[in-house]
């Protein structure tokens, strides 16, 4: 087996889970954070010859804690690590071939040998979501979306395909773009805009400040999410919350699209209750002109997130169907209790 070979060759240098995680995310732009975390943990198991259950669980716990500490925003990631840990424990507790009666090595082998499969499934769940979500994009409707969510992109592209290609496009997209971190790079989401335009979908790009102005011409709002929290709210890129508030105020349906592996066990009570530190509001008494005109640690909208509470969300489009926000807690309860 390949894993045993790589084990011997790399035994010398200690396995760095943080580097692995970052490398995974970098190497595959299609990878989501939870999946990268699961992959990193699988690789960790490959590299550590633990053979007992408690040893493995202990190792996982320690590495997870380390990984979470080293990443500025571990919300999306923790969905993956939690899911992995629960899966392991649940499978071990369950009677059956992989349970305590069976061989621990069997489940280990299953996990190790199927790393690629998990990634593939995660990507496929996007197609599934796109299939469910297709019904939301109606003929003649205008969709407002934001950010660089891959799920939203695949949903819209699928809808564009269904409507019969360039000749018979019947929906339009208003894409909210936030400026890129450095001015030279193009804003996140441009790729989707281009892909949609190539399919003949008329796309308008607007800055975040024009959302309220544009909502009058919008029929539905579809956004992606980094994590879906227990009360059914979503943690998503900065700016989503205000779109949600505005959509509610204008009476437009607001749909969040997320794979079910992004459900995370977190119950934020408000914006400032997320377990991460974001220096978005940074009070100063002095003019901030220290280095250039770039204030240090500026909270940039592609790095920082906000929390959209469940009452703003009409429905969550997930790979297990179209859920109301309150259904999320049930899914989470199923894996934890």
């Amino acid at each position: 087996m390949a894993s045993s070979m790589s084990k011997s060759s790399e035994a010398a240098k200690p396995f760095d889970i943080v580097a692995t995680y970052n490398e995974l995310l970098r190497s595959d732009p299609d990878l989501t954070m939870p999946i990268a975390a699961i992959e990193a943990l699988v690789l960790l198991l490959t590299h550590s010859p633990s053979s007992t259950i408690s040893e493995t669980l202990d190792l996982l716990e320690k590495s997870t804690a380390h990984l979470k500490k080293s990443i500025p925003n571990p919300i999306g990631l923790s969905a993956g690590t939690d899911l992995f840990q629960r899966y392991l424990i649940t499978t071990l507790q369950r009677p059956g071939q992989l349970g305590p009666a069976g061989d621990f090595n069997a489940i280990r082998a299953h996990l190790l040998s199927n790393g690629r499969l998990f990634i593939r499934r995660a990507k496929e769940s996007r197609h599934k979501i796109a299939a469910f979500g297709g019904g939301f994009v109606r003929d003649g409707s205008t969709v407002l979306t934001n950010g660089g969510s891959r799920v939203v992109a695949s949903l819209l592209q699928k809808a564009a395909d269904e409507k019969g290609g360039p000749s018979a496009v019947r929906f339009r997209v208003i894409y909210v773009l936030s400026p890129a971190k450095d001015t030279s790079a193009e804003p996140e989401g441009m790729e989707t805009v281009r892909a949609l335009r190539a399919k003949g979908v008329p796309v308008a790009t607007i800055p975040e400040s024009a959302v309220a102005y544009s909502l009058g011409k919008t029929d539905i709002v579809i956004v992606g999410a980094e994590g879906v929290v227990e009360n059914g709210g979503i943690v998503s890129r900065m700016g989503t919350y205000q779109i949600g508030l505005l959509a509610k105020a204008m009476g437009k349906p607001f749909y969040a699209v997320a794979e079910s592996h992004k459900f995370v066990r977190l119950y934020p009570l408000g914006q400032y209750d997320l377990p991460i530190e974001q220096r978005v509001i940074d009070f100063n008494t002095e003019e901030d002109i220290t280095d250039g005109h770039k204030p240090q640690s500026v909270a940039h909208s592609s790095d920082v997130v906000d929390f959209t509470p469940p009452h703003l969300i009409s429905a969550l489009i997930t790979d297990s169907g179209v859920l109301t926000p309150s259904a999320v807690s049930e899914e989470l309860i199923k894996i934890w209790f």
Binding site: N114, R121, H261
Partner: protein, 437 residues
């Protein structure tokens, strides 16, 4: 042509009568044309007619193969739904019957599996008998089917979130291929089962019983919700609402403000209040004769629909009937309901919707407009008014879509639920693979 029962006015009663004598295909055509002509149009009548028809279809379908039975019911169901897509209860009943067949087939197969397991321990029947238990959790369409394809080990409910990590799929269904072709066919196909039809027929009869009892079951909750000296506002002549009010009226004194729902339902509404109810062919059982509300000493105030907002400030509670309830907690009810719900929201008056579970549809309302049906324009302006009819466009929408946030509580025969909880009842009643049959 189907109608051999010309003596009766076509409707539910004549349909049920003819069902016994007519050949099955004639009956199907008959119901389709009745639905198309809107000669059966109440939710419950449609549900009852569908249930009785499916009862006939199943008993006439001489097969022991569950897959064939499902196919037959599906094809009949598709035709009925196509005949009147806005009558969502028809689809609901078909889905429930399909669910019944699947359940029975699986029970059957499970028992079968146990037997063979006991017989030959070492030799699994299918490759999947060896699979990881959680393997079945992959795939939304498959979850429930699969879980019973292996010996029952008293496992917890399938956990869809684990779908990502579970075992790879063997052979045919690569995770990538869309699994729209439900595997149940394969699964149920080779079950060398006994005749499951008897059990399915029993189940369909239970559904029919449920349709008969639903109003009384809902009415049992009336005393929890209607208190002494309250002022209740209601709308249309829904029998569910009437029974609900009558039940409370037996114990309590309260006032009912009844919006008359002109022009589609005002006559029936007047009748339910005054008791001059003419023979309503839609009501099946003979004992469903309504005592008028006033006979029980309730003060009833009949108002035109336009006065709803003005009176809302005095109202303690709004109780509404509905045409169908959708999976997101919204509902389709007779025109005018949304105005009432809106007015209630403005005055912070609780809105309670009474509805049988059979009206709860797993359909997600992607496009609200398509769910609204338009009716006879002559009810607004009669055609005798020729001059006027020539010059103006008269529309008479029969239904309203009421979004979930305007509703505070649903009372079904299972109890009271918040709108956000309805998805749960949907998943309890319908199987995922049947949602788009």
């Amino acid at each position: 042509m189907p109608s051999t029962s010309v003596a009766l006015t076509p409707g539910l009663a004549s349909f049920l009568k003819s069902l016994k004598t007519n050949p099955i295909d004639t009956s199907i055509d008959n119901l389709i044309s009745l639905l198309k002509r809107r000669q059966i149009h109440h939710s419950r009548s449609c549900a009852t007619a569908t249930a009785y028809l499916l009862l006939r279809v199943i008993s006439a379908c001489r097969t022991t193969d569950a897959a064939k039975l499902i196919e037959r019911v599906q094809s009949v169901g598709r035709r009925l739904v196509a005949a009147q897509p806005r009558e969502m209860v028809v689809g609901n009943i078909v889905r429930r019957v399909l669910g019944l067949i699947r359940d029975e087939a699986e029970d059957d197969r499970e028992a079968d599996f146990n037997l063979s397991e006991a017989g030959s321990e070492s030799q699994p029947q299918t490759p999947r008998a060896l699979d990881d238990p959680s393997e079945s959790m992959y795939g939304r369409f498959e979850g429930s089917d699969r879980s019973s394809s292996r010996p029952p080990l008293s496992q917890p409910a399938p956990i869809s979130m684990f779908s990502l990590l579970s075992h790879p799929e063997p052979e045919l269904s690569l995770p990538g291929t869309p699994i729209s072709a439900s595997p149940s066919g394969r699964l149920l196909g080779h079950a060398p089962s006994k005749d499951i039809r008897a059990e399915v027929l029993e189940g369909v009869n239970e559904i029919i019983d449920e349709l008969g009892q639903v109003d009384d079951q809902i009415a049992a909750y009336a005393l929890d919700h209607i208190h002494s000296n309250e002022i209740i506002l209601t709308h249309t002549s829904s029998t569910t609402v009437q029974k609900f009010l009558l039940k409370a009226a037996a114990k309590r004194k309260f006032t009912v403000i009844h919006a008359e729902s002109y022009p589609n339902n005002h006559e029936a509404t007047h009748a339910t209040i005054s008791g001059n109810s003419t023979g309503d062919d839609e009501i099946l059982s003979t004992e469903s004769f309504q005592k008028p509300l006033i006979a029980l000493g309730i003060t009833v105030i009949l108002i035109p629909d336009s006065a709803v907002f003005a009176l809302m400030s005095r109202v303690n509670k709004v109780i509404l009937g509905t045409h169908s309830v959708l999976a997101n907690g919204g509902l389709i009810a007779s025109a005018g309901t949304r105005v009432i719900a809106r007015a209630a929201k403005v005055h912070q008056t609780p809105v309670v919707v009474v509805s049988g579970v059979y009206k709860l549809s797993p359909v997600y309302p992607f496009d609200f407009d398509s769910l609204i049906e338009y009716g006879d324009a002559s009810k607004v302006i009669s055609y005798e008014d020729g001059d006027l009819v020539d010059q103006i466009d008269v529309q008479n929408p029969l239904y309203d879509y009421v979004p979930a946030e305007l509703i505070d509580l649903y009372i079904t025969n299972l109890g009271g639920h918040a709108p956000s909880y309805l998805y749960r009842i949907v998943s309890d009643h319908y199987r995922k693979e049947d949602i788009s049959f």
